[in-house]
């Protein structure tokens, strides 16, 4: 942490950058063992339905979005038309627009290569930990390295899981249910966001809507539920002028 009196802080700025990146890595560490089997399942399934190992890995690098990749493989196995597959991928990944707006609001203005990298690396978990971190005091200036550290860890784990799944199939016993750590993390991060009544309402409405929309295709329930929850929060906020305002 700088004291604010000196202007040339290069050495401590670099080490602070690295410290923040490691903090991002540390905070995603609990769920990396859950991301790995998910990647392995994708890799193993892709190869099993006839996609070449190179293409399967290429999809993990190029698209880098597990839920949509798994859906795409499933549709390809059923000989779906390319437009159906593409449509499914884009609908499932439409949630990234919400994440981008939320993360974009707490990161500094990003240009050029940094902006492209930060965009490419966006994930559910990266969004979740970064937004959670942004609500802690004194974190405003350091969220970019934090976000990149967390996202790099997730990216590496995803590529590794894919590669292992392609090579040897799913070797982690499914009974371990390591993937369960991922929704547990979302739950853990949800708790501190329930700070006021409109936030509670947003969460309850979103949760209920997602359950009702469980049978919708392409994870549409997630998007619809989230939007309904956000809307409910805004409505609840309006009911009490001043509540929900930042102090």
């Amino acid at each position: 942490m700088t004291t604010g009196t000196t202007t040339n802080e290069t050495p401590s700025a670099v080490s602070s950058w690295r410290r923040e990146a490691l903090a991002g890595l540390r905070d995603t560490a609990p769920i990396l063992p859950g991301v790995l089997p998910f990647g392995m399942i994708y890799g193993a399934t892709a190869v099993a339905v006839g996609i070449s190992p190179l293409m399967a890995q290429a999809m993990s690098v190029a698209v880098f979005a597990g839920a949509s990749q798994v859906a795409a493989v499933d549709l390809l196995a059923r000989d779906a038309a390319w437009i159906t597959v593409l449509g499914a991928v884009l609908v499932i990944n439409s949630r990234f627009v919400m994440y981008a707006a939320a993360v974009g609001a707490v990161l500094p203005r990003l240009r050029g290569g940094k902006g492209m990298l930060a965009s490419y690396l966006l994930t559910d978990q990266g969004f979740a930990v970064t937004v959670a971190r942004s609500q802690k005091p004194n974190t405003a200036g350091s969220l970019l390295p934090y976000y990149l550290g967390a996202s790099a860890a997730l990216w590496t784990t995803w590529q590794t899981g894919t590669a292992v799944g392609i090579a040897v199939g799913g070797i982690v016993p499914p009974s371990w249910e390591l993937e369960f750590s991922i929704p547990l993390m979302f739950l853990a991060l949800l708790i501190p966001t329930l700070k006021d009544r409109p936030s509670w309402i947003a969460a309850v409405v979103a949760g209920a809507a997602v359950l009702l929309g469980r049978d919708l295709p392409h994870n549409l329930g997630l998007m619809v539920g989230s939007l309904l929850g956000i809307g409910a929060g805004l409505v609840a906020e309006r009911g009490r002028p001043g509540e929900g305002e930042r102090p």
Partner: protein
Amino acid sequence: MSRTSLLILIGAAALGTYLLRASFLSLVASERLPLWAKRGLRYVPPAVLAALAVPAFVPAAWPPDGAGSLVRPAAAVVAVLMGWRFGSVLLTIGSGMATLWLLKLVL
């Protein structure tokens, strides 16, 4: 699907997904959002996190068929209690997984 078609499909999927991600991160500044959307950002975390978490813990069938389908909800309850009490993400995840494994062992 031919190899070439698959390659083009992956390329299109990659580009489309990238544009979705870049939308408010590097293409458009989030300051450009209308006021209601900016206020709505405040509720993205509780709404989205709830939407992501809830389906994993609520059994698909109602009424729940057998004790096995109550394992995940029970793990979620333990995790929430621990999270609320101690505020540690690691403890929340750990206690949830421990409950899951314990109950699976016992049932």
